[in-house]
Symmetry: D2
Subunit: 286 residues, 4 copies
Amino acid sequence: MITLGANRYGKAEIRLVHVRRDGERHEIRDLNVSVALSGDMEAVHLTGDNAAVLPTDSQKNAVYALARKHGVAAPEDFAVVLARHFVDAQATIHRARVGIEEYAWDRIPVTGHSFVRRGQEVRTARVTHSAAGTHIISGLRDMTVLNSTGSEFWGYAKDEYTTLAETRDRVLATTVHAEWRHRGQTADWDDSYAGVRRALLEAFAGTHSLSLQQTLYAMGRQVLTAHGEEICEVRLTMPNKHHFAVDLAPFGLDNPNEVFYAADRPYGLIEGTVRDDDSAPAEEAW
Amino acid sequence: MITLGANRYGKAEIRLVHVRRDGERHEIRDLNVSVALSGDMEAVHLTGDNAAVLPTDSQKNAVYALARKHGVAAPEDFAVVLARHFVDAQATIHRARVGIEEYAWDRIPVTGHSFVRRGQEVRTARVTHSAAGTHIISGLRDMTVLNSTGSEFWGYAKDEYTTLAETRDRVLATTVHAEWRHRGQTADWDDSYAGVRRALLEAFAGTHSLSLQQTLYAMGRQVLTAHGEEICEVRLTMPNKHHFAVDLAPFGLDNPNEVFYAADRPYGLIEGTVRDDDSAPAEEAW
Amino acid sequence: MITLGANRYGKAEIRLVHVRRDGERHEIRDLNVSVALSGDMEAVHLTGDNAAVLPTDSQKNAVYALARKHGVAAPEDFAVVLARHFVDAQATIHRARVGIEEYAWDRIPVTGHSFVRRGQEVRTARVTHSAAGTHIISGLRDMTVLNSTGSEFWGYAKDEYTTLAETRDRVLATTVHAEWRHRGQTADWDDSYAGVRRALLEAFAGTHSLSLQQTLYAMGRQVLTAHGEEICEVRLTMPNKHHFAVDLAPFGLDNPNEVFYAADRPYGLIEGTVRDDDSAPAEEAW
Amino acid sequence: MITLGANRYGKAEIRLVHVRRDGERHEIRDLNVSVALSGDMEAVHLTGDNAAVLPTDSQKNAVYALARKHGVAAPEDFAVVLARHFVDAQATIHRARVGIEEYAWDRIPVTGHSFVRRGQEVRTARVTHSAAGTHIISGLRDMTVLNSTGSEFWGYAKDEYTTLAETRDRVLATTVHAEWRHRGQTADWDDSYAGVRRALLEAFAGTHSLSLQQTLYAMGRQVLTAHGEEICEVRLTMPNKHHFAVDLAPFGLDNPNEVFYAADRPYGLIEGTVRDDDSAPAEEAW
């Protein structure tokens, strides 16, 4: 029988910039907020009866109003406020998932109210909340890193389609997309983020790499080693951004790993999870 | 204890254009192929031992070589060939997932070898294969559709943040992302695709809509109604691409739903599944 | 002495969707309008005195209001209406440039009000207007075309860095960006567009190509040959979207121009102008 | 008569990463190089005779080979090397234009060979070279800046379509695209770049703004004031990235410029030139 399966709805990509004025010195938080709600949504799908549907426009309004009421601290904090609000406020909503991207800004050292967008990685948070509990996941994406040496690739399986030459010295570059699940629901999220980011960078730089998988695992392990009391699971997606040493022999030149072609596509794609297997898995958090 | 969880790796976005020459008349298939493999990958993560790792470069080569050996029929067919190849050929690989995007071309009616890219939607296929079986999912994305009338939105839940006015006549626009799971492993995939695409378009156009959820469900139901013998599940993601009637009253003008502002962000986002609940679910297929 | 040079300002990317209701049957025009104005703008730059500045917000409002007042026929027509409006209405504005992108839609043959976005190329128009006159330029971009044979490349200059092999049969693919300048200010713009588009496609397909430059010139010449009474200049930008035949010899396979790798970057980029040298150039139109 | 007008061709977006190894400490330069050549190109357009055409593939090879031969110092230096090479090496090439984008990296302080991409702005250089001389233009794009106060907008022209309220305190944000033309052909380009970048940021932050035009002019003027001996012209393109204070009154809340909606489109677009009018203009440099 044809039936409705899993479903959710909400307002996506609500762009919120929050300015906190502390006299001459301002603080800004620049967020992109996405809300996804689920609950008693049979009727709206089957007959178009909207009685259980809080409009996505109201969700957007709530994001702005709650930013005014509660201020915007770390994205994790604000996502918790929002997720709880939607479940508490609307009887037909049983579960909320709030995803936030944060874009960082640096100060321009002339005034207390001038900023230049940092670029580099995007910080992320996602919070799921229902009667069963609250899960908090922090993360980052678009953090591109490169080791210009200290990476090898050899001893791999070879089949009839293998032509790749083994190497003891290559450039290793990737764009890190990482998310980590917290054990608890409170923390100094900004501190925690800075610590995890540092652990990821240090493990990337500090690992003499025999494969990108090894580097990925070392990065996840370093996060759990340094922050294992707060964090129980790390998920990483890391494209292998190939840098090919250009063959300059046709032009009578050597190339001692100095001139590289940075390729776009195709690229290797490595995905892995590192977790504390003493803690319960929580697929519903993701 | 820190341990390795779910993981996979492969070559992503292998751009393959295949030309079949039938005398003066050529056929082209324009694909973007992504491979993800999993299996005995403990060692490579923990110690960097690559013995079980078939290089992603070899995977890329296999895609091109198998295109030559077997030709490229529908993307579903070619994905099955590839997925089986990787699992059969490499003892350490237990599961393969092959994702394909296809870009359609129309003929330029001057020669038999001239084409203009159609644009419009991207066709997709993904195949998972392991000893446990083979799953085939077809799909499309980026198919943008619009009804300039025949859409209402009223009778929704109202909270303290609700300011939206009810409407009995609005523009309804969305960009359809749909995937559907096949019961079996053989079909005339091109015919099947054309039929599902038609069902989606006809249900979108033919549904007098009280909410985008209702339209989404009608689209999924129409696919299962028309193709229920072959297809058991449809997953749809549909942003509500808001078209706001511009308030022209400040300029002494009315606006009888004639002049609209097409907004970018935020947007509503509706996600839902329609399935035959007599058939077994298959999360591993996705 | 430090001084203000060329300058202009305006509202960019005003998204306008216009619905014309002719009973059950609707017509839609989906436009992205950008306005750039120049005139007496010394004061605003030097002292911040805005007395001569019509706000860009007012420009946006005018676009919507004039769409209601005049309707939206072809983008060229609407751009003329707008450009004249800004120069006529505001004494401090001496020159207006209105650029429009149009996204085409096809009907879904179920109702008179259901549409699917065509994709494929974007149609463009730009109009400049000042006391010195009005210029109208039409165009298109993102029209991707491919010949799977009928293209050669040999006999080129060779230097110490040349390793490319000559070929008598290659795939030739490009994404056409073309703009053409009209002699006059009135036409059936939709008809004219369809004719030029056809000329471009037919010349691309019909030219046995020894170089992409030759094809580019043939395309421009075909437009002027077929529409020379209305059009006096064509500017074309065409990337050479390289399709490399994959070397399958390492796998014991031949490749009779059947399996290609479609590369992203780098790409050749060919830019050229074809014009009637009996007509006056008009740099100010571009 | 139908004739060939302005034309050029070349290889675009050659991705070059150069590693300089100074013992344990590496330096990297990450560039995207585009070459455009012009000269005796009548024959190739009219008949497809390629005798005067240096293949774009050879141009790509030259970029990599010359990176090895000369190293890669600042992008301006490398662009000069390339532009001169093409004109000197090939008799049929009379003019070369080399454009370079540079992506900056920061060190990860663990090793001497580990880097994280900085993000933020892209640095640019373009060099034109012919028998008539060499022009060097430096620049940046995608530098997004924001003042959370210190910006007003009032006293502007009002027409029948003006509804915008005047403001004495708004957020001013823009993404700076700037290019500046050098008087000479030698400099410490890295130092020069850092100085101009600082001047742009300080002028943006330090200007109490009555209009974005005023800020743009102040930025250009500051560059010429601080670096007028080396630089004679600055061109700036600055979108007004609107941040609208959200009206929270419907929810019983005030909004003392604390909660903003960051809009995507439409946006104001301000373009202007600031130059030393004692120096000769040089359109051919751009």
